[in-house]
């Protein structure tokens, strides 16, 4: 009998063989959510009507046909509330679907619900949701990471075989690492951002969270490709990602950058990642040291660029056209101010203020422009490194998951979670996090970084490692009652 951990290909085969129907899959996904989600709280909205979707033949014959998935609540789905886990979008019913969601529907995917996140994707723990925090299925005292914490938890908990997340500074990879699942951030421009509620437009990218690299390849295949409704979507031919999963990485040149093994990296995480690098060597890869000298400046550059873009993108939430509107406004300016003050949460306000400041007259050159120049240096570091290697590997996060409440009081400590993932967004590169072990019972993620649009090599390396390491799919102990459920 298949379940959400079985892998898309096996589930597809079970559908083809008539062992299960797609209605069975949606019903069992939803009943598992009903059973466990009062503890995990991954879902914001459960699409109960998804169990009476059309039967197999009309869903098509592709690998995703009839298979349930979950959508991060910053992606629009026509007719279903999209909140971004913010009070300010409460009640917003989009009149259209995000291109990525639309493509999954065209592939026959069955959307069973919208999942939790940090408000407007700003955060690393899903504690910034305006509704409730999501918990880590491995241990509910711990955060699932963020901002795609609901997506990662929904996959780790075995509700769905895959979910879509979005990644601006690590928001797919960091929660994937914390929850023991695979998270892929594609090259900037590979997946359309149309219908993704914008946070930092030059950094945001949609990608899959799955139980295996193969499943990530299958989902990427369905959502990748040019879309004229996103002017930053790149018109490149989409390669056959599944065909790249050969299992053979003999002669692959793997780079290791010492800048990603700073003392901030926890000893257990470091050990797991070094073991994974040994495994890559045993598979025939050659490992060489590369240097990415401007890595230490990435976080500072990011925390100017992302808030600057956010302050501009979030100017649209003013209580006029959709979402929340404050009561008793005296005039239009008062309406804007009251709506935004009552509608946005603390972290969102902090970032809007930092961004507004960085863009304001007199400070633009000192902060925003400087950050964009540093972005150039970070991009060049990678270009230089990729002249001698094919992929670069690092830890995904400096530590494993932390406890709820542990880091909420200090924004800077929270930001440090993303030191290994942020440079990749600044450079626009693809990167994937795959499980590489457990430290004190909590999952560790190995990050692999690829060249622009070289997802085939990236996925091939990640897949070969995953097969050899034998961790996937990782199941938290929630069903055996060993976890603190």
């Amino acid at each position: 009998m298949v379940d959400a951990y079985s892998g898309i290909r096996k589930i597809h085969q079970a559908l083809v063989d008539g062992e299960v129907t797609s209605q069975d899959l949606a019903s069992s996904a939803i009943s598992r959510v009903d059973q466990h989600d009062h503890e995990i709280r991954a879902f914001i909205h459960i699409e109960r009507g998804s169990t009476d979707h059309p039967s197999e033949p009309s869903l098509g014959t592709g690998l995703l046909a009839g298979i349930p998935y979950a959508l991060k609540d910053n992606m629009c789905f026509e007719g279903i509330e999209t909140t971004c886990a913010s009070k300010i979008l409460k009640g917003y019913i989009p009149p259209y679907s995000a291109t990525a969601a639309q493509r999954l529907q065209l592939a026959g995917g069955v959307m069973i619900g919208k999942v939790n996140m940090d408000e407007f994707a700003m955060g690393s723990s899903t504690e910034n949701s305006a509704f409730y925090p999501t918990r880590n299925p491995w241990d509910t005292a711990f955060v699932p990471g963020g901002s795609s914490g609901g997506s990662a938890a929904a996959v780790a908990a075995g509700y769905v075989p895959y979910a879509l997340g979005s990644d601006t500074g690590g928001s797919i990879r960091q929660p994937a690492a914390f929850c023991g699942v695979v998270g892929l951030k594609p090259t900037y421009g590979l997946v359309s951002r149309y219908g993704l509620v914008a946070f930092a437009s030059s950094l945001d990218q949609i990608g899959p969270i799955t139980h295996s690299v193969e499943d990530a390849a299958i989902v990427l295949q369905a959502i990748a490709g040019h879309d004229e409704r996103d002017s930053t979507s790149v018109p490149v031919e989409v390669p056959d990602y599944l065909a790249s999963l050969t299992g053979n990485i003999k002669g692959l040149r793997v780079g290791v950058a010492k800048e990603y093994f700073s003392p901030d990296i926890d000893a257990g995480v470091r050990e797991s990642v070094l073991k994974a690098i040994d495994q890559l060597k045993q598979l025939g890869a050659t490992v060489t040291e590369v240097s990415l000298p401007h890595t230490q400046y990435a976080l500072a550059a990011y925390y100017l660029i992302a808030p600057a873009e956010a302050s501009s993108n979030l100017a649209r939430y003013d209580g006029v056209r959709y979402g929340f509107r404050a009561k008793d406004a005296e005039n239009l300016l008062d309406l804007y101010k009251k709506t935004r003050s009552e509608g946005f949460g603390k972290e969102v306000k902090r970032r809007i203020l930092i961004g507004t400041y960085a863009l304001s007259s007199g400070y633009y050159d000192a902060y925003y422009k400087r950050a964009q120049q540093v972005r150039t240096l970070i991009r060049r570091d990678f270009e230089q490194a990729f002249m001698s290697v094919d992929v670069i590997v690092s830890p995904t996060t400096p530590t494993t998951a932390f406890r709820l409440g542990e880091k909420v009081s200090d924004p800077l400590t929270m930001y440090l979670n993303d030191i290994c993932t942020i440079p990749i967004n600044l450079a626009g590169l693809p990167a994937i996090s795959v499980p590489c072990g457990l430290v004190d019972g909590m999952p560790v993620g190995l990050q692999l970084i690829g060249r622009m649009f070289d997802e085939p090599t990236l996925l091939r390396a990640a897949h070969a490692y995953e097969k050899a390491a034998g961790f996937a799919p990782m199941r938290p102990a929630m069903d055996q009652g060993v976890a603190t459920l």
Binding site: P95, A300, Y322, N331, L332, L353, S360
Partner: protein, 96 residues
């Protein structure tokens, strides 16, 4: 640069956000620490380094100037907190 309460007030007014006296104090402290952290970019010599605003975007994309179907106005207005005569309704812009 450190943030004073007046700076918070000024930036908040630019961002159209109200902050209470109490919030001003907390935000002044938090924003100062974030800016101090960002201050490390000042130690780099960036003369002659071009800026990167987007990756992989060489030119602005335009579409052909052709009429296409768009949302009917009732659908576009469906999420409005208040509407009147096919328009978004807001409080008075000018007093009196």
């Amino acid at each position: 640069m450190s943030f004073r309460k007046e700076d918070v007030e000024y930036v908040a007014s630019l961002a159209r956000i109200n902050v209470s006296e109490e919030e001003k104090g907390v935000l002044a402290d938090e924003l100062s620490r974030i800016l101090h952290f960002a201050g490390q970019l000042q130690e780099l010599d960036l003369s002659g380094v071009e800026t990167t605003s987007h990756i992989g975007l060489d030119q602005t994309v335009t579409r052909r100037d052709e009429a296409r179907p768009s949302l009917p106005s009732d659908v576009a207005l469906a999420n409005a907190p208040e509407q009147e005569d096919q328009q978004f309704k807001v409080p008075a812009v000018l007093e009196g």
